[in-house]
Structures are given as structure tokens and as C-alpha cells.
Amino acid sequence: MTDELLHIDQKIIEILKTVSDPEIPVLSIVDMGVVRAAKMNDDVVEVQITPTYSGCPAMDVIGDDIISAFNQNGLKAKVELVLSPAWTTDWITAEGRKALEKYGIASPLSADADKEALLGNKKIVKCPQCGSLNTKLVSQFGSTACKALFQCDDCLEPFDYFKCLK
């Protein structure tokens, strides 16, 4: 989802880009794809966000952070949580995927590849540390609901893999 597609005003986008997911501080909520809409209405910026996972505890914090980011810029903001259409990992921007890899989180594969990877059938998840494909699934569930835990058999580092959600 690019900024153009979301039709969000440049000034509003810049402020939204300063807010990040507290669990993944390198990724702005815009690159994460959780911002669905934002517009100015009678001096109040109305922002719609969608959760990555239903139980994601980060959503409350993200809502508060959005309001405080706008307040710091002298603007009032209101945040609304929308469920439909449901978030998908496809909404993570190219920039966002790069940021994830750099932070040490393997970015989501396509839905079919993801299934093979999470069933441990194929070695296709690339280690974000050394780039090796010689990796193995440790657990389908990782440090947060959106990630699975992997380990690299070459550099031996454990790492998170961002699960595909479609």
C-alpha cells in the first residue's frame, strides 16, 4: 500500500511515519500497513488503523502514540480501529520489508511458500544475519503472535520470521 493509494495528505503521512510498532521499533505504522485512512476533519485528524492480529496488544499503544504524535505537532487526532478488510502481510511496504530484514526479522514469504516453511518441508526462509537458506523451524509461534521462531544452521543464530497472513 503506497501513500498514493491511501490518499493521505503528505503532512499527515509524515507525522504518521514517526509512529512505530512498539514491538518492532524500526518499522513505522505506515510501512507496516496498519494505517488504513487518515484525513483532516474540522481541525481533527481522523485516523483508521487495523490490527495485525486480533489480540495484538500493541494496538492500544499505537493508538495512544498516534494521538500524542499529532498533539506534538499542534494537531488533535482521533483513532478508530477497523477490522475490515483484514490486514495482510502484503500491505507491508517494500521499505518495510527491508527494515525488517535489517532489524533481524525474516520478512514474510508468499502464502504457499510460507506453508511449506512452517511445516518444515522446505528450507526457504533466509537467515537475516548471514543470508543462508540452511535454516530450520524451531516453533510456529515466536516472540509475538505475528512471528515464528527459526534458527540458522550455518551461523547458528536464532531469528524471528514474520508469518505470512493473507
Partner: protein, 250 residues
């Protein structure tokens, strides 16, 4: 009419709440770090789904009702979850068997609920399906691993499946609220899911070298608010803070 809708939502949402609470009991007590994290992640998903349903109920009921009052301030016979989800963790085999027997049903239900005429229920279902796919994959995987594992794991998972089997039929019972919602195109006719459910469960059990129980006697009651003894203990823990310190907030 609204009342039927609310009762219908409780029939779905309370399963998520109570199973989420049961799984939450395992936080820090799982048999290994990875399964501990997995089970509590599933718990978190289920509680997240519960919140979406209860927020909708609060909106329908209006007034002072919030998702929290719905979750914490009802009495036992107002919770409409099935008996299956309130069964205790007992051991890892029971937790996995309960999860598996529920996940297969849960996914079938949500796949139909996403076509509901009610926009809110349809949106929650579409969101939840993505999560429940992972739950089902996890529990089916463990059913196979334990069934096709050692003699000990095989016998214990078989025992758990046998013991919990009597609670599966209730998943397909219809209450009056269910029937009313089905007739309006809002609810899912669960009776139509039954054949598919038992077929799918049997296939996975067979792959796990386990026997599908041949039991004709089934337990029911939860959907009418008549629960097993376990429910009182679950609610005592779940509601403790609100009952001890009424209206307390974070």
C-alpha cells in the same frame, strides 16, 4: 430481535473467551518454552477475537455496557460456551486434544460466518480465519506427533481424545437464538457442518495412527448456560479483580 443476535454472539464469543482463559493458565507452565509460547499466543488470538465480539455486543446493548462488563460481570448461566472448552488442561495431551477438537470446528464455523449478512460478524470472521488456520495447523501437527510418537505419547493422546469426545456433539446443537439468526442469514447452521467435521477429524486421527472413538453418548448443556463444575472455578479466577475491587481500571 437484538436479543437473539446478542445470545448468538455469546454462543461464539464465549467459546473464545473460556478457551483463551484455559490456555492462559499454561503461561509459564508449558511443557517446553516453545509450546508454552505457542499456546499462550493462541490464547492471545482468542482473547483478541473475544474483544471484537464483545465490543460489538456492547454497541448493541448500549448504555453503560462495555466489553469489560460483558466479559467480567455476567453470572455463570449467562455464559454460553460449550462444555468442551471449559475442560481442564489435565496434561499436555488433553490441552492439545481439546484444542484440536475445537480448532477443526472453529475454522468450519468461521468459513461460513464470513458470509453472514451481519457486516460486523463477517468482518470478525474474516479476520479470525487467518489466525485460526495457524491454530489448527499447530494442534493437528501435535496430534500427529503425539499419536505417531512413543507408546506413552500414543496412549495418552488417545485417552485424552476418548475422554473429550463426548463433548464434540454439542458443537452442532442449535439454540433458539441460533435458529432465529440462521433464518435471517446472519447465523451459521452448525448442523450442516457436522459430517464434514467428523470426517476431517477422523482423517487426521487416522494419520496420527489413532482410533476415532465410537461413542454414542454425548454431554451437552453449556450452550444453555448449564455448565460443568469446572466453570465456576474458571470464572472465580477470571472475575476475581472486578468482583473484589468493583469498577477498578488499569
Amino acid at each position: 430481535m437484538n436479543n437473539n443476535l446478542i445470545q448468538y454472539i455469546f454462543g461464539i464469543a464465549d467459546n473464545c473467551l473460556i478457551l483463551g482463559q484455559r490456555l492462559g493458565e499454561l503461561c509459564g507452565h508449558g511443557p517446553s518454552l516453545e509450546t508454552d509460547i505457542a499456546l499462550t499466543n493462541i490464547s492471545l488470538d482468542l482473547l483478541g477475537q473475544t474483544r471484537s465480539y464483545y465490543q460489538y455486543v456492547a454497541q448493541l446493548q448500549g448504555g453503560d455496557v462495555t466489553e469489560d462488563t460483558v466479559a467480567f460481570l455476567r453470572v455463570e448461566n449467562q455464559y454460553l460456551n460449550t462444555l468442551l472448552v471449559e475442560q481442564p488442561n489435565t496434561d499436555f495431551g488433553y490441552s492439545i486434544a481439546r484444542q484440536f477438537l475445537f480448532d477443526v470446528f472453529h475454522l468450519l464455523l468461521l468459513e461460513e460466518l464470513q458470509n453472514s449478512k451481519d457486516e460486523n460478524l463477517s468482518a470478525i470472521a474474516k479476520k479470525s480465519i487467518k489466525e485460526v488456520l495457524y491454530h489448527k495447523r499447530f494442534s493437528s501437527d501435535w496430534i500427529k506427533r503425539l499419536g505417531d510418537g512413543t507408546d506413552e505419547s500414543h496412549s495418552r493422546i488417545q485417552t485424552a481424545i476418548n475422554d473429550l469426545w463426548i463433548f464434540t456433539d454439542e458443537l452442532f446443537h442449535q439454540t433458539d437464538a441460533d435458529k432465529a439468526m440462521v433464518s435471517q442469514g446472519i447465523g451459521v447452521d452448525v448442523t450442516l457442518l457436522k459430517t464434514k467435521y467428523y470426517k476431517e477429524v477422523s482423517e487426521i486421527l487416522e494419520e496420527a495412527t489413532l482410533q476415532t472413538p465410537q461413542i454414542e453418548y454425548f454431554q451437552k448443556g453449556g450452550k444453555q448456560g448449564i455448565h460443568s463444575e469446572h466453570m465456576g472455578y474458571i470464572l472465580t479466577e477470571l472475575q476475581y479483580m472486578q468482583r473484589t475491587y468493583p469498577n477498578m481500571t488499569w
